[in-house]
Symmetry: C2
Subunit: 417 residues, 2 copies
């Protein structure tokens, strides 16, 4: 079976894969909101009540009827009678009559009839239980009104949202102590290659330890999936078919790293083609590293054949496996990618028509005028895509297909790991 | 006790805090390499042997003695006798004599005397078990030499490194299945405020649920720490002192969110001052949100008083609590921050002399010429720093102290959550 009949551009390849996948997401589960950190909401979260639930002061000062303070200034202060102090955490026992004010603390509840707060700095103690107001306030000033944060019934977190610290806190504010999130998609990982041995074994000459199973498992975890390890599968067609079929039955995504030889890669393609329809969608992607990538959908599940080279496997999994996990987690859209702006230290050549991803190391190169660190990106050239070239790197620079390289001194966005 | 005697710039405040902390890091523990993802190495990892441990082919083709191919070209090919095939995962049973070649697959071990590989595409089958070489190769061509990735004894992962998928894979390649990492620093979190109730309770008018304990716990987790929750402490001096002292004894960092009123904040400062020496280093930071921040070192441990406002608490914890956790994890330096370049949709005013952090929402605004998404950052103005303003945001834009704001259309770096 000839490889690379037609190389497909990476964006186009991903589109084909995602379009051939059913719209189905992972099943849901209920977890404590604090444990939902990093998970993805399976349903929109709606506010059961308004926040704040009562009008609160946003300053330390005096609750007033704004109309009582109109025109007050340092030269002609207004005078109000202080009728009490608003307790923290309780409803004030009094309402304000015209000409009255009440001491209030940040977060305190406005008494009935009060509609603004005068900051303590703009008041002075006056004789006879009065205060002088040195600056008038408008209605609503220094007050957080009922529902100003959210109103009852409002969608506060859309479905398909990654839960961050702010979401955890927001749920607590509303008394929502559990969240429905998507289960972590199970991603089966198979490694093939007769030269591969488990990492805890001592290789003889000619053997190498299994890297891909574990680096990919870590990547799957980071992306919000649950890696399921199927270990090393011998380069024998029937055994690989059986192992891959088992993984496909037990998981929502299957990733197979191919043996490194052309014949082993061809066998991977044949195995994937046998797993279900429509089968292989893309065989060969116009990207370096990672040309011998296979993208397939078999009976509604994504099956991805990655190159055996550890760097290619990890870079390509970032381009294709991670988006599939995100899709299963119902994430609405590809959010902004995490980057760092930097200045390239060396020229990077690239072949026009092919997208290249180059590992770079970032070095702080001093401060910008605004106090922010600026960074230099040094390409890590490595003729053979060695795993420790990625260990030494902070991220990747993308060279688009229409470019023939990047020049030293150019500003680039580094996609951080 | 007067607040804000002197506001300190955020960078200067952090420096004072870190300089007053002892150089001590968290204790170490041994974990499986795969579970070390996201943890920080407590020791440098050194390679027990070279990688690769034997010279490997990086192509499918023929292992040769390079000198036998010198001058070979399509018009005048060289002819070599194929003496065998290198098995995958084993040492070849033969050495190459002058004029000989061996079939080899990507990742295969070079036979003795071979020093280069001719790609299969640059060979042709010839009669009598020979191949014709259509292009000469130099010694080392298409070969990964012993030690080209790492040499024996080399530091492959420095101490103080965050473990990513590449590090997991790299350890496996070397047979390092366990890693010494720093224990997660225990960060005690106390919330005060008489108006605060636990999130699973129903507030009466005047009460609000506890947000900060949980959003801060999530942030601590994200940063690699272990949050220890001490719940809500009443605004009573002796009770707060006792609770804070208990947290300080049990944790490596203590975070106290102050009640929202000025008197409650003063009490927090008094509590922190009582915990140990040298005590409060900074009281009041020239930043918005978050002015009433307290930074202290008490008997060698960082104690941080955060504003009660949920947005201020979370933003300020990012500026001061996260770096303290990183310090305890022995992280060598502040690495590059994760940002996304964007164009501002609206003017943001700011007071000169003060650093402002503004929450923004990112919206995709089309593709750049190079196929990358470009982004618009829309500031989320919220007069009262409401928690759901952060839920709606993707990140923060920093306005440096010497600026009086940013203009619509300006390019900014958004610090992603």
């Amino acid at each position: 079976m000839p490889e690379f009949l037609k190389l497909v551009a990476p964006n186009e390849a991903l589109l084909r894969l995602l379009q051939a996948l059913p719209e189905k997401t992972s099943d849901e589960e209920l977890v404590d909101a604090i444990d939902a950190l990093g998970r993805v909401t399976a349903q929109a979260v709606k506010a059961p009540h308004a926040l704040p639930a009562f009008s609160r002061s946003s300053m330390d000062g005096f609750a007033v009827r704004a109309s009582d303070t109109f025109g007050a200034s340092e030269s002609i202060p207004g005078f109000l009678t202080v009728v009490g102090e608003v307790p923290m955490g309780a409803e004030p026992a009094f309402a304000l009559q015209p000409g009255q004010a009440a001491l209030i603390h940040t977060g305190g509840m406005l008494p009935d009839n009060a509609d603004a707060v005068v900051m303590v700095e703009q008041t002075e103690q006056a004789p006879g239980g009065e205060i002088s107001i040195l600056k008038g306030v408008a209605a609503g000033e220094n007050v957080i009104l009922v529902g100003e944060d959210v109103i009852a019934g409002q969608t506060v977190i859309p479905g398909g949202s990654r839960v961050r610290p702010a979401e955890v806190g927001g749920c607590m504010a509303l008394g929502i102590c559990q969240l429905r999130v998507f289960q972590k998609p199970r991603v089966g990982i198979l490694s093939s290659g007769d030269e591969i041995i488990p990492p805890d074994q001592e290789p003889v000459l000619g053997q190498v330890r299994n890297v891909n199973t574990y680096s990919l498992a870590a990547l799957v975890k980071e992306a919000g999936g649950e890696p399921v390890l199927y270990g090393i599968v011998p380069d024998k067609l029937e055994i690989m078919k059986a192992s891959a079929a088992k993984a496909l039955a037990e998981c929502q995504v299957v990733v197979i790293t191919a043996g490194s030889s052309a014949s082993a890669r061809d066998m991977t393609a044949e195995v994937i083609a046998s797993l279900g329809s429509p089968g292989v969608l893309v065989h060969g992607v116009n990207v370096r590293p990672g040309k011998p990538t296979i993208l397939a959908v078999c009976d509604g599940k994504a099956v991805i054949g990655l190159p055996g080279n550890p760097v290619s496997a990890l870079v390509i999994a970032g381009l294709f496996v991670v988006p599939v996990i995100r899709r299963l987690l119902g994430e609405q859209a590809d959010g902004p990618r995490k980057t760092c702006p930097a200045q390239l230290s060396l020229n990077i050549p690239s072949q026009a028509g092919r997208e290249d991803w180059i590992a770079v190391k970032l070095t702080a190169s001093g401060l910008h005028g605004d106090g922010e660190e600026s960074w230099t990106a040094e390409p890590i050239f490595s003729k053979s895509n060695l795993i420790f070239s990625l260990v030494a790197a902070d991220g990747l620079v993308r060279i688009p297909p229409d470019a023939t390289g990047l020049e030293a001194g150019e500003r680039v966005q580094v996609f951080l790991f």
